[in-house]
């Protein structure tokens, strides 16, 4: 979780000096986000901006000031949006960070809704990437002003002219408007700040209209409860007012509003165009989700702001405690985690193999990994995750439609009329040398091409329709390895499509293990069955008896491996009366058994669940 908000005595840390009353005139305000691909320099540029505007003194500057969550720093991506307010040559700038991964696309769109412009930051040695492009289109659709910037011009490999003309071609922005900077050396950053104040329009909004404030991020602080990032559109958001949350339907008292300079600084109100934070005694982020419209309870607005959506989980898996006794701890941990991440869903489920656990839903694979890692790291749990699955729509014989996110819930083959699976529109940007490799990958994942466009003679955008299930395995890793890291990926949901899908069951010693069941396209079922049985045969240690491992569709066996019975496991010599060593070896062996899950009579190491399910294709 985030560190608790530092509560700074107002006068100490405020460059603009002293506590503030009243709101800032909208004409001097500029609200913007930086859109950038991972590693193109967003954090470095943010640091430079904080420094140049004096918001953070150099001595307290730590690299990448805004990336605060441990996991975010480790992975070098931003998951939760942050925002900060700075002053530049008579203007007030709000820098609104956006999440940096396609799993969090909805959060990006909500962050953009709080802005009038974006800085498009592109590595001058790499060019624009798929997700950046997608976010730019999103910004253009919302009529935001784009300030295009090429970064890292200090690098010998930088080619600003080439990539400026690429930007002109794909976004229709004149190449002469593209700024060139080095976020590292600071070169050009002042000019960029000037361009932001000149090109991006000030917010409009009526201070006397009923309050409409957009929440674009919320997180849970253990001392203050939910802290939301807000942008006021119309009216005034005042401390002490009664507020209505128009989508969630709750009423809450505005306990505190304030600014992030970036030190947290309470203020008595926020006016139109201003960005800050709101604390309203809320205990659960689901009551204050991104996209929420906050209005006044006394004089409410007629309608909420447009664009609210309830992001649906796309990827599901079962999470089980390795030690069954930790089930209640897992339940508590999930409940706590949800206070801070309303997009995780969970409900209890039981598995014949794994016992009691939860079916959890996530925005995407990265989100799933992050949640799992946080559960283990922050709550000290040790978990088994079942294979990620998507939600299928199954039409049964009697014309009922059911949605199924756990393969073992699939009705018997005889009762199924049709199974439809979720599809994605996938966009891949790649150097043209790798076009063939990308096409091979997409085709092997049952993709069908929808378009192919050259951004320049060297770079191409390929668009495919691909089943989501094919993307949630190792698609991204494969794309990276087949293009030596050069290709980038973005995707969008594209509805459902009926397909010839079957469930592949895995039997250990004759017993079906629900945790290993998977839904596959009929053509992929046989290779899948072969691969997973082979992998399990590697991962399951020899036992006291032969263990057959089979893959089956319905009752029909499609693949089989056998782990031969173990024949030798003995400590031959007890040297010179050293009984202690012998006993310790046995104790260690016993400990080892605790890291196994007994499935029927078969002892399966916990790693087998993880590795077998991460099957390379």
């Amino acid at each position: 979780m985030r560190p608790a908000m530092p509560h700074v005595p107002p006068a100490a840390d405020i460059p603009n000096g002293g506590a503030r009353t009243g709101s800032t005139s909208a004409a001097s305000i500029r609200n913007f986000s930086i859109i950038a691909h991972i590693d193109h320099g967003k954090s470095t540029l943010s640091d430079r901006i904080l420094e140049l505007t004096g918001a953070v003194e150099e001595r307290s500057m730590r690299a990448q000031y805004l990336d605060s969550m441990d996991l975010e720093r480790e992975r070098g991506i931003t998951i939760k949006a942050q925002n900060v307010r700075v002053s530049w040559r008579g203007h007030t700038l709000h820098l609104i960070d956006t999440p940096g991964h396609v799993d969090f696309g909805y959060e990006v769109s909500r962050s953009l809704a709080a802005c009038e412009g974006v800085v498009l930051l592109v590595d001058a040695a790499q060019g624009i990437e798929a997700q950046t492009l997608a976010n730019c289109y999103l910004a253009l659709e919302s009529d935001l002003t784009i300030v295009p910037v090429l970064n890292k011009i200090d690098l010998p490999a930088a080619d600003p002219d080439l990539y400026a003309s690429e930007i002109e071609r794909v976004l229709g922005i004149d190449a002469s408007e593209v700024l060139a900077i080095s976020a590292k050396t600071g070169e050009g950053v002042e000019a960029l700040l000037d361009a932001i104040t000149e090109r991006i329009p000030p917010p409009s909004g009526d201070p006397d209209a009923p309050l409409q404030a957009l929440i674009f991020d919320s997180h849970f602080d253990q001392y203050r409860g939910v802290v939301s990032s807000v942008r006021v559109m119309n009216g005034r958001l005042c401390a002490g007012d009664r507020l209505r949350f128009m989508h969630a339907g709750g009423q809450h008292l505005s306990e505190e509003v304030g600014l992030r300079l970036p030190a947290v600084t309470p203020t008595d109100e926020l006016g139109p165009g201003e960005v800050g934070y709101l604390i309203a005694g809320i205990k659960d982020v689901a009551q204050a989700r991104s996209g929420e419209t906050v209005t006044s309870a006394a004089a409410p607005a007629d309608v909420p702001l447009a664009g609210y959506d309830d992001p649906k989980p796309m990827v599901f898996c079962g999470l089980y405690p390795v030690d069954g006794d930790e089930y209640p701890d897992l339940r508590d941990a999930l409940a706590k985690l949800r206070l801070n991440d309303a997009s995780v869903t969970f409900e209890p489920e039981t598995s014949g193999a794994l016992g009691f656990g939860f079916r959890c839903g996530f925005l995407g694979l990265l989100h799933m990994e992050i949640v799992r890692e946080r559960l283990e790291r922050e709550f000290g749990l040790s978990l088994i995750a079942t294979a990620p699955s998507v939600a299928y729509r199954v039409r049964t014989d009697d014309d009922q439609e059911v949605e199924i996110d756990n393969p073992s819930d699939l009705p018997p083959a005889g009762q199924i009329g049709e199974i439809a699976e979720p599809m994605l529109n996938v966009s891949v940007l790649t150097p043209s040398a790798y076009t063939g490799a990308v096409m091979d990958l997409c085709q092997s994942r049952r993709g069908s091409m929808t378009s192919m466009d050259y951004l320049s003679p060297e770079r191409v955008e390929l668009r495919y329709e691909v089943p989501l299930a094919e993307v949630v395995t190792d698609f991204f890793d494969q794309l990276k390895s087949r293009t030596q890291g050069y290709a980038s990926l973005d995707y969008d949901h594209a509805g459902y499509r009926a397909e010839r899908l079957v469930r592949v069951d895995i039997l250990l010693n004759g017993e079906s293990v629900d945790a290993f069941s998977a839904i596959r396209h009929r053509d992929g079922a046989y290779p899948y069955g072969k691969a997973i049985t082979a992998k399990l045969a590697e991962l399951i240690p020899r036992q006291l008896f032969d263990v057959p491992i089979q893959a089956a569709i319905g009752g029909r066996i499609i693949a089989r491996e056998t782990v031969k019975a173990k024949r030798k496991d003995v400590l031959s010599k007890c040297y010179g009366g050293d009984i202690t060593r012998k006993r310790k070896l046995l104790e260690r062996q016993k400990e080892g058994k605790k890291r196994m899950k007994a499935i029927g009579r078969v002892e399966v190491p916990n790693e087998a669940f993880v590795s077998a399910l991460r099957l390379e294709q």
């Binding site: 006291l544 173990k566 030798k568 003995v570």
Partner: protein, 363 residues
């Protein structure tokens, strides 16, 4: 020296001789190849430790000189240690010997000192396999050594064998067994080759033994030795009726024994302890009059009970039938008096069975 069960209170002495002329590829024992200059001081320290111990010892029923290579040091030096000990009448006195150092005179000296059991490090009767184990002797030396033991009139002979080298075919092993049986030893200790970290063998995975090959060789061993009249009384030990090693049995029965020298283990009054590992530190401790004990442990009653079962499971005494779950029933056979012991296949899986000990018998 025949095994008389637990009728008379037995007490053993293990004396460690940490010197070798050369380190074998699989060896992780506390032994050194470059410290012969320490031998005199070391043996004098052992003698002093034995003398100090002797005052409070019961009658000693077995003494085992192990190593290392005990026949690398002059027999008189072993004799001086022996002379300090309150030996029981008919005590079993064993010296471990490397065939490449055995001489007729050496064996005569041992006999004169009261040594009545020789344990020969044969390992294999195939010279290629011996090379692959990093041993320095050849099969002819074994024949000569056996001859020397017999001529000196030492009554009991054990042969140590090792199976499982990658360089050893099943028929090589069968040959080793056949030759060993021809020597008509009273006792055979047959060990599976075990890769230990830090040894030449352990650090080269391509030389690690294969479990299935080891299992085949073990079953062959049990069959051939059984047919030749040897009883498997412990996982790695076979003896003619009446020729079981009294000293080793102490280990399996939680018996009492005291170590002399470095890296030697002791077990007395429910406490296990062990001495410092190097000869230098041992010599220093004895000469300073400080304790050479490096570590110890005392088990609680439950741990002790479990340990007793784990040890008994290794032997033909077996364990009470109720101590084991049914899923390993196919690895067990009756041992009389409501007890079960491991079959030959079961002995190969002794660890798997041992970790189940103490579980409720119904599952």
């Amino acid at each position: 020296m025949t095994d008389t069960g637990s009728a008379s209170p037995s007490f053993g002495i293990y004396c460690h001789i940490p010197f070798c002329t050369h380190r074998c590829d699989y060896c992780a024992f506390a032994t050194w190849t470059d410290r012969e200059h320490l031998i005199d001081d070391y043996m004098a320290s052992c003698r002093r430790q034995a003398r100090e111990l002797a005052a409070e010892l019961p009658a000693v029923t077995s003494v085992f000189f192990g190593g290392g290579t005990p026949n690398l040091v002059a027999p008189e030096l072993l004799g001086e240690v022996l002379a300090e000990l309150p030996l029981a009448g008919g005590a079993e006195i064993t010296v471990e010997c490397n065939p490449d150092l055995v001489t007729a005179e050496q064996m005569q000296s041992y006999e004169a000192l009261g040594v009545n059991r020789i344990s020969l490090g044969v390992q294999s009767m195939n010279s290629g396999v011996l090379d692959a184990l990093g041993r320095r002797h050849d099969p002819e030396m074994v024949a000569a050594s056996v001859d020397a033991v017999r001529r000196a009139g030492i009554g009991q002979l054990n042969l140590d064998l090792i199976y499982g080298s990658r360089a050893e075919s099943v028929s090589d092993w069968e040959h080793t067994l056949a030759r060993a049986i021809e020597f008509e030893p009273d006792h055979l200790s047959v060990y599976g080759l075990t890769p230990e970290a830090g040894t030449a063998l352990g650090d080269d995975p391509s030389r690690h033994p294969d479990d299935d090959d080891m299992a085949d060789k073990y079953l062959l061993t049990d069959e051939l030795l059984g047919r030749a009249g040897y009883e498997a009384y412990e996982i790695s030990n076979w003896a003619r009726p009446g020729a079981r090693c009294r000293h080793n049995r102490l280990y399996w029965r939680q018996g009492s024994y005291a170590g002399v020298g470095c890296a030697a283990h002791s077990h007395r009054d429910g406490r296990r302890y062990w001495s410092v590992r190097t000869p230098e530190r041992f010599i220093a401790a004895i000469s300073n009059g400080t304790s050479p004990v490096a570590g110890s442990e005392e088990l609680g009653p439950d741990e002790r009970r479990l340990e007793a079962l784990q040890l008994a499971l290794r032997t033909s005494d077996g364990v009470p039938a109720g101590a084991l779950p049914h899923d390993v029933g196919h690895l067990l056979e009756p041992a009389g008096e409501g007890r079960l012991k491991l079959t030959a296949r079961g002995r190969l899986l002794a660890n798997e069975v041992a970790v189940r000990l103490g579980l409720p018998s119904a599952r």
